[in-house]
Symmetry: C2
């Protein structure tokens, strides 16, 4: 046993790397096959390790590994939404979308797997892991918008747009990653301002907010195509 | 046994009614509780029948009942999309949306249950029951639009909007059915023309299609508020 005990710091790093490798492998397998068809043996073989080693990291077996893999992907995805509350807002949205779409591009099938756990939006009745990601996305967007207490229509609009972004990501993967990421991102930003424009026509709060949003972006949105509604 | 054999016509009707009652009861229970927490006994009690009777209708037990309940709701939902290819197109969309939203309003929790089986859009990798509903919705919309071979961007736009409608329905239920059904329907129609407008700015096919769509609706859309993009 003594020969298996390297220095603590070295050992901890290896443990985290191994755990991360097993999670990535599991996410890929769970993405390609229904959970009931994936065995711990499959994960061990795909990761090039022994079955006991997988059990050492995930003593709860497949269910624990499955949930940990989804949680790991969800956490990483949520980090994409972190953006300082500084500077023009549309470029902030562009940066968040770029990180999000890069995650989608990189994780591909694993991203689809993550999203298969829940319904189309987070509601008070659903509790899946992906709902936490959706809630985080909505909260982040609302935090950045120039509005203090977003009302029903504005919140609904943001939630619907988040869903449309998620749909766009899955369709984009499904369509062989067309159009280009830049095109997709600009398209989504334009859709955001367009649906806000629709809501603004019936909701004074959204109208005031949208005017502020568009004005604040004027100076620094050269990288983004002008929204189609302006 | 002879006393249990009424005339065939009478018996068949009773069988279908009973089956339908059991499906409705099951859908409600599966909507309120995770499938693993619902027993056939619960369904029997809620429907006011004996456990053996539930088994007579669903010999495959809970899984069969669960899938049959979802399929029944999905079939009913798909029927909402049937609309003759006649008359101005926006009013057709209004009628379809009205039927769809009436289904959402009536089925409430059962509607949420139906949608919890899949990811956010139908893709080539997903096979859940709700995906069949989404595919039907997209196909019906594309069939009604003035375009012969819809390209990638137009198809993506329609799929994203269908997802946004689904999200809106779930949020609407979650928010205590606010705003009114009329407001919600007009809002969704306006969003449809707005996102088509965004796509049209980058996609000639969608631009031509949208112009035809807006022109054809001019004569007969008094019941719908003017789309915000026009």
């Amino acid at each position: 046993m003594a020969s298996h005990a390297p220095t603590p710091a070295y050992r901890r790093l290896r443990v985290e790397e191994r755990r991360s490798q097993l999670l990535d492998t599991a996410l890929r397998l769970f993405a390609q096959h229904p959970p009931e068809d994936v065995s711990l043996d499959d994960v061990a073989v795909a990761a090039g390790v022994s079955r006991p080693l997988v059990y050492r990291y995930f003593p709860g077996g497949k269910q624990q590994l499955y949930e940990a893999a989804l949680r790991s992907a969800a956490d990483e995805l949520k980090q994409c939404f972190d953006e300082p509350l500084e500077g023009p807002r549309i470029p902030r949205l562009v940066r968040v979308l770029d990180r999000y779409l890069a995650f989608v591009d990189e994780h591909d099938i694993g991203f689809s797997a993550l999203l298969q756990g829940g319904s189309v939006v987070e509601t008070s009745r659903t509790t899946s892991i992906v709902d936490g990601v959706r809630r985080a996305a909505v909260e982040q967007i609302l935090r950045h918008l120039p509005v203090v207490e977003p009302g029903l229509r504005l919140r609904m609009t943001v939630r619907m747009w988040i869903t449309a972004v998620e749909a766009a990501s899955l369709i984009w993967l499904d369509e062989g990653k067309q159009p280009s990421l830049d095109d997709l991102r600009n398209w989504l930003v334009d859709q955001f301002t367009a649906v806000l424009g629709v809501t603004a026509a019936h909701d004074p709060q959204t109208a005031v907010m949208l005017e502020a949003l568009m004005a604040d972006g004027d100076a620094d949105t050269a990288a983004v195509e002008p929204p189609s509604l302006s």
